[in-house]
């Protein structure tokens, strides 16, 4: 992938590794509540950050390397038929242990040159549109989909806005909601927010042990809520972004343990473990009737949410024909703001006049 004329080479995303990170040697303690003492908090924060660094480790196997170990055969496909070919999102057709599959995944680089070519795995609109193309291809030919998620997030540059990155992500999610073939999603590294979710809305979502998943990067969250990116580790802890926490929240369905110190220590074994789980899920999903499978996928995502209903009674319908008083009032009053049970004091109704986002 070449960068478009007029742009500079992209800056690496926050936390992009330039050297390999130190490996944790002790198991990670479970997440603890904020009201525990400061020492325990610091330990938990360090443990979570160690996972984040592992997920970002430069030597961690990336999608194409894993696919080489998982698939019997794989033919990479390119282009979005509209603008170009995004090196940050790869895909193609092949087979895993004899089962035909369409594969889509984020692709980070193995070295600086490749990272520049692949934009550090940060998808652009053309990448998400390539994914859409491949999902529709799979649906048309009745081939299950396997997605590999490993991205710091969608590329935030001006050209991405110009080419409609938000629409591309939204439509990719919509197509995943629509297609009737099984979808197995693996979070292998960083699950970076919307750029990850665009290809992560599977029937089942499985993460490697040291993968992380978050609605915003810890650096981004820290900048906004702690007012400094240096609090990224605190943000990472607060957001519960480890695979174990995501399992507890129900956002992922299963965790695959990694060999030794992490996937980077034994990519072949990691691929072997992934293949076993993928085949198991493909077979399980293929056994379901399509209607049932699509309904279950819709149900999975429909049920996400933590809220209560304090039960406010509905306002009863007014009488059908307004009286003379009502008709007069309506005729005389411009742009009334009366709204039945919505009414609040006028002064409190509006957001403050300051216009900052």
């Amino acid at each position: 992938m070449t960068t478009a004329p007029g742009t500079t080479t992209p800056a690496p995303p926050p936390g992009a590794p330039t050297t390999t990170a130190p490996m944790p040697t002790t198991p990670v303690p479970p997440s603890i509540t904020p009201d525990a003492d400061a020492t325990a908090n610091a330990a938990a924060r360090d443990a979570v950050w160690a996972r984040v660094l592992l997920a970002r480790n430069a030597r961690r196997p990336h999608t194409l390397q894993l696919v080489a170990g998982i698939a019997d055969r794989f033919t990479e496909l390119h282009g979005d038929r509209l603008f170009g070919d995004d090196g940050a999102i790869v895909g193609g057709v092949g087979a895993i242990d004899g089962r035909r599959v369409v594969i889509v995944g984020h692709q980070k680089g193995a070295d600086t040159d490749e990272n520049i070519r692949r934009n550090f795995g940060m998808g652009k609109p053309e990448g998400f549109r390539k994914a859409i193309r491949l999902f529709e291809l799979a649906d048309r030919f009745g081939i299950p989909v396997v997605t590999f998620v490993d991205t710091p997030g969608a590329y935030p540059g001006a050209e991405a806005e110009e080419r409609g990155v938000a629409e591309a992500i939204a439509r990719s999610i919509m197509v995943m909601c629509r297609i009737r073939v099984p979808i197995v999603t693996l979070i292998t590294g960083e699950g970076g927010s919307g750029g990850a979710l665009a290809i992560a809305a599977g029937d089942v979502v499985i993460a490697l042990e040291n993968a992380v998943y978050a609605v915003i990067s810890p650096e981004g969250c820290a900048s906004i809520l702690w007012r400094t990116a240096e609090k990224a580790a605190d943000a990472a802890l607060a957001m519960r972004m480890t695979a174990a926490d995501q399992l507890a929240l129900g956002v992922i369905d299963q965790i695959i343990p990694e060999p030794g110190e992490g996937a980077h220590a034994d990519p072949a074994e990691t691929a072997r473990r992934l293949r076993g789980v993928i085949v198991e899920q493909l077979d399980r999903l293929a056994a379901l009737p399509a209607d049932e499978r699509v309904a279950a996928r819709a149900r999975r995502y429909r049920d996400f949410g933590a809220f209560d209903d304090v039960g406010v009674p509905e306002v009863p319908e007014p009488p059908e024909r307004p009286g003379l008083a009502d008709r007069l009032r309506r005729a005389l009053e411009p742009m009334g703001t009366r709204l039945g049970n919505l009414g609040t004091r006028e002064g409190r109704d509006e957001p403050p006049a300051r216009e900052e986002v």
Partner: protein, 287 residues
């Protein structure tokens, strides 16, 4: 009477509960006049942000709106604490706005046509989408589907609610899934993009209207502008991420000044979902 300088209005002569300064042209606007002008500056046309109840009142036929699920309130699934805890932030927002969360949905009529409507509220925690906002958008879509009527969603949001973590991220799929069912049933969804429509809200339901209608100069974008600027050497293009920029790049069907918005939506719905002939009731639903 104190002696006043003749050429500069003193601050005390513009009590803030009666006057508002326009961020666009710095004109002092009398609040009662501003309300009558639909909270659009009569001098420069700057569109002020409006609360969800005001938005609904401006769009729908007078007295027609019936709110649904007004009782939904957020929980604290992550036990999130930054400088304040999430429950504290929620309580502060509830006290400040008098509303339980950042969205309102219900049924009403627009130019005599029954619709389901959902409006987001930037005044409540920046209109951020957590479980309650996602639930209301989804229920609005399901309500439209159940009655076979169009859906209108007005977006005004800074994006996903960080304090709910990936549960907020999942709301993107939840809302999109509900819209997909509406689409499959042949029912129209009009997305109104108000200032601002950003992040995970833009990258989900807001971008996916059958028709996208934006307010003039609304900030509509995925990444924060400062982040976008940081990735390129040059300055950002003029009008970057404003409604007119999106219009020029093909992602918005119409830009409608607020005074015209009702009529624009009515005209579009007239074509997409014409009212049934007399005596049949409801709207025509394509098979």
């Amino acid at each position: 009477m104190p002696i006043t300088l003749p050429f500069r209005p003193r601050r005390e002569s513009y009590p803030p509960d009666m006057w508002t300064k326009c961020p666009g042209c710095s004109e002092m606007l009398f609040n009662k006049h501003l309300e009558k002008a639909m909270r659009v500056c009569t001098s420069c046309g700057h569109h002020f942000r409006v609360s969800a109840p005001t938005r609904i009142a401006q769009l729908l036929d007078h007295g027609s709106f019936r709110e649904r699920d007004a009782g939904l309130v957020s929980r604290d699934p992550l036990g999130f604490v930054d400088s304040k805890s999430y429950p504290d932030r929620l309580a502060a927002a509830q006290t400040a706005t008098g509303r339980r969360d950042a969205a309102i949905w219900g049924f009403g009529s627009l130019a005599g046509r029954r619709i389901a409507v959902c409006a987001l509220d930037f005044g409540f925690m920046g209109g951020s989408m957590g479980s309650v906002v996602g639930e209301k958008v989804a229920r609005a879509a399901e309500g439209a589907l159940a009655e076979g009527i169009p859906l209108v969603v007005v977006s005004a949001s800074g994006g996903a609610r960080m304090q709910e973590g990936t549960l907020a991220l999942m709301q993107l799929v939840k809302t999109i899934g509900a819209l997909e069912a509406l689409r499959a049933a042949g029912l129209p969804f009009i997305s109104v993009l108000a200032d601002p429509t950003t992040g995970g809200v833009f990258a989900s339901f807001a971008a996916l209207g059958d028709i996208n209608v934006a307010e003039p100069n609304a900030l509509i974008g995925f990444a924060g502008a400062r982040v976008s600027a940081g990735t390129i050497a040059e300055e950002l293009p003029p009008g970057f991420q404003r409604a007119e920029f999106l219009f020029a790049h093909g992602f918005v069907d119409r830009i409608a000044p607020r005074a015209d918005l009702r009529n624009e939506l009515a005209a579009i719905l007239d074509v997409l979902a014409p009212p049934a002939p007399e005596g049949v009731g409801g709207s025509v639903r394509r098979g």
